[in-house]
Amino acid sequence: MNAAAPQPPPEPAAAKKPARELAPALLGLLSASPFGLLMLFGFVAPLLCVVWFGFMPPKTFSLLQAPTLENYRTIFDQTYFKSILWSLGLAGGTVLVLLVICYPLAFAMAKIFRGGAAFVTYAIATSLFVSENIRLFGWVIGFMKKGVVGGTLAAWFDLQIDSLLYNVPVIILGMVYVYLPFMLFPLVLGLKMVPDQVREAAFDLGASRWQVFRRVDLPLSMPGVLIGSLLVFVLSVGAISEAKILGGQKVVTIAADIESEFTYAQNWPLGSAISTLFIALTTVVVFFALGRFDLEKLLGKKPSE
């Protein structure tokens, strides 16, 4: 990074040089400070609050009591590990399905389409701005008994089917649908980083399509694959609406468990303890993955065109 630092100013300014060398450091800190304060107030403090609340006696609402481990004992005594496993499983399944669906599309957008890529980008990005509840509700209308799919089958093929809702595959479909942009766009960025010359060289040297994919495309687009998978995993592991709107009461996820502790059960300390475990889990995953790539490469580098 120091190698790229601006050249020292010419002679007349040399007297003021020490002050100028200091300035960027101070400027950086100063301009980072509003964001830093926001994070301190709106992110760090609330999280500490949750962690601390997890040690309060059950069914209380004050933070000023003697800490106890009772909530954690309750978690391990009861079946909360089931909902944690459900959440992890659903999130993992979503990531895998999305990788399979998005990789070819991202490849086409990065390497094959020209004007079409922008069209696909805008068509997919638009969905980000429509509340996910509305979009999930579309699936409900489509899949419910006498819905768009069932009604069409009945009218055209005289085929009576029951509601397609309220099962695990439909929950995964909902998550795949909602989080598709978060996988697609990082993959496109990642694949744009694969130089065409390297692929062509591999082909010229007699590599098969599969070999090029395994040895060139995949390793070079790994940052995109990692970012996309990580984003989708974290978002879907904390998802609430999909399991509720599409899954009915079939599957209880950890986020739903936490929510019900805060609403129906009115047991804030227990909810906090579950949240704390949940936060610890996601933090471990995120830090493990974030330590493995350099984000500046993805954002700072101009995509090859």
Binding site: A4, A5, P6, P9, P24, A25, L27, G28, S31, A32, P34, F35, G36, G42, F43, P46, C49, F53, I101, F107, A108, K111, I112, V120, A123, I124, A125, T126, S127, L128, F129, V130, S131, N133, I134, F137, G138, W139, I141, K146, G147, V148, T152, A155, L235, G238, I240, S241, K244, I245, A255, I258, E259, F262, W268, S272, S275, F278, T282, L299
Partner: protein, 273 residues
């Protein structure tokens, strides 16, 4: 790269298929919003089509309230997160300082964090501070999540910032403040406009954070969620469609801004290409 015709057709078909499935729910909502019946069933006769629910939605005082709350949250969030994002983008991409790499990781943290838990955490924090939650606490919650996004968007522009312009201004005796106002701000403006659109749209559609932090005020996605899980009203799809149309319009506006700034950038640097 050499692309064969067959490849292009194959991938185009695949993209078309994905988009078709992707827009299937929107199609379903449009179909449902036009049905006259109290309880939706498909298919229905064309004589059963109606725009009644749209008229209902447009004149419902309840819907107006929710839209008002959502708009207020979105406006406050956009203003705050773009202002914060402008400075943190400079820290992220422009200035070279010791803590930069740590800062770049820190910016991502709220994005990689489950929103429902963040919303809950903020609810407890406001409760601890003895603050009654209302629309403005939701705006704070949204800002915590959206400021990192605006930072990243403005950073992309800040990476492309020509440092020599700022240096030239400095050598000609401009103060830091003058450089910021006359050079840096106009150069980052397209990025900031894009970021504003993103902030408004993301705040408008957000549900997980609003659910816990709006208190007595209720944002539009919350109302829709409540109506979907219990007590279906035919007005719900109509509101949903209006919501989609609004998003499409804003994205088109965004598209033209990006297009415009790209053209301006190309016009400003004819020698580079």
């Amino acid at each position: 790269m050499i692309v064969t015709r067959a490849q292009k057709t194959g991938f185009s078909l695949y993209a078309g298929l994905v988009l078709l499935v992707f827009y299937f729910p929107v199609f379903c909502i449009i179909v449902a919003s036009l049905s006259k019946k109290r309880f939706f069933s498909f298919p229905y006769a064309t004589s059963d089509m109606t725009l009644k629910w749209y008229a209902d939605a447009a004149s419902s005082a309840q819907v107006h309230d929710f839209v008002g709350v959502s708009l207020r949250i979105a406006a406050a969030t956009a203003a705050a997160s773009v202002a914060i994002g402008f400075f943190s983008a400079l820290a992220y991409a422009r200035y070279r300082w010791r803590g930069r790499q740590t800062f770049q990781r820190l910016v991502l943290l709220p994005l990689f964090f489950p929103q429902s838990v963040l919303g809950l955490a903020l609810l407890m924090w406001f409760n601890f501070l003895d603050v009654t939650t209302a629309w403005w606490t939701a705006a704070i919650a949204h800002t915590v999540w959206i400021a990192p996004i605006t930072t990243l968007i403005i950073s992309i522009q800040a990476y492309g910032l020509d440092e020599s312009l700022e240096e030239a201004a400095r050598d000609m005796g401009a103060s830091r403040w003058q450089i910021l106002r006359k050079i840096t701000f106009p150069l980052l403006l397209p990025g900031m406009i894009t970021a504003t659109c993103f902030a408004v749209l993301l705040s408008w559609g957000n549900f997980a954070l609003s659910l816990f932090t709006t208190g007595a005020d209720s944002a539009l996605p919350e109302w829709l969620y409540a109506r979907m899980t219990s007590g279906y009203q035919p007005m719900v799809p109509a509101v949903g469609v209006l919501n989609v149309i609004l998003a499409v319009l804003l994205v088109l506006a965004l598209f033209s801004v990006v297009h415009w700034s790209n053209r301006k950038a190309r016009a400003a640097r004819p020698a580079a290409h």
